[in-house]
């Protein structure tokens, strides 16, 4: 399921989520996953420095409990960005959390 949003004054962000299955794990090259959690893909015309932080963000989101609140998701992302020293431009951790929750709601 996919949800996209143009952040006012910012950039366009889309988050796509899929339930992990053997098929999605295989296609993602993830042979070690237990099959639980979500496969998360974030796309858009935002900026993130360093760029390879996005995969960490996607993996982190994919491992969150399905009943995590938007505030919980925001806190996790803020902590991740702080720990890694990554900077989002055109989208915030709050925005990502909101869009992620909307995408997962569509999934259920």
């Amino acid at each position: 399921m996919r949800f996209e949003e143009k952040i006012p004054g910012g950039k366009l962000v889309a988050i796509e989520v899929l339930r992990r299955t053997k098929r999605t794990n295989d296609s993602a090259g993830d042979s070690e996953s237990s099959g639980s959690g979500l496969l998360v893909k974030i796309t858009g015309d935002f900026f993130l420095h360093p760029e390879d932080s996005l995969e960490d963000i996607e993996r982190t989101l994919g491992k969150l409990p399905t009943d995590a609140s938007e505030a919980d998701v925001t806190a996790v992302l803020v902590a991740l960005l702080s720990k890694s020293g990554a900077t989002l431009i055109g989208v915030s951790a709050c925005d990502l959390a909101r869009i992620f929750k909307k995408a997962t709601l569509k999934l259920s």
């Binding site: 996209e4 949003e5 858009g44 015309d45």
Partner: protein
Amino acid sequence: MTVWRVIPYSENDAFTNMAIDEAISGSVGSGTELPTIRFYGWKPDAVSIGYFQSLQREVDMARCAELGVDIVRRRTGGGAVYHDSLGEITYSVIGREELFPNDILASYRLICGWIVDSLALLGIRSEFKPINDIVVSAGSGGNLGQGKKISGNAQTRRGGVLLQHGTILYSVDVDRMFSILRVSDEKIKDKMIATVKERVTSITQQRLVSREETYEALFEGFTHGKDFRLGDLSNHERKRALELVETRYLSREWNEMR
């Protein structure tokens, strides 16, 4: 004072242009070359997409194939850009991060300020619009084009090196551009405009100047006040760029990454 290398305008295909930027970033990072400003064009026409964009969602690939338009993913974020061979001039600024403000928006403002200065030499008033655009200002040719985007820019910082590149729209074929780029309704809905075409302008819509005059203004605007040397790619950079074209920029794995 920092000495810059300035590589004059050249034209290359999309894959080579991106490979050259990365090759220069490597040599600047290793200290074997001076911080570099280069100007270039895209031949044939091309689309470049931002590092985080979905290729299939951003570009009408069938239309590109039909028109002979190349498609390449950039190392920088930002949006999809249509590079018209005759319709724009692209620049790259590549230097160690210490040469620029640490704050990313401040560094955009600095480098985009060189474009604003260049446009002023052509009699076009413009201003930096965060995050990464330059728009035509009020008072420039009356209200024609006021607020419309005339330059887009994108930056990455890797290995201690800042690379910012961007386009200055000289003469844009808006219909062709938007037949190739897919633009989400979400992207424009907050701007209360009927069509994204209303957001974009070009130099020839503001002033009757030649593309050569535009390049001369950009050269002056980017080099003003700087100590610089005219230069070219080193043999190592040329070789590295050729490698990168094959190993990265032509590869489906890279371009279809997302």
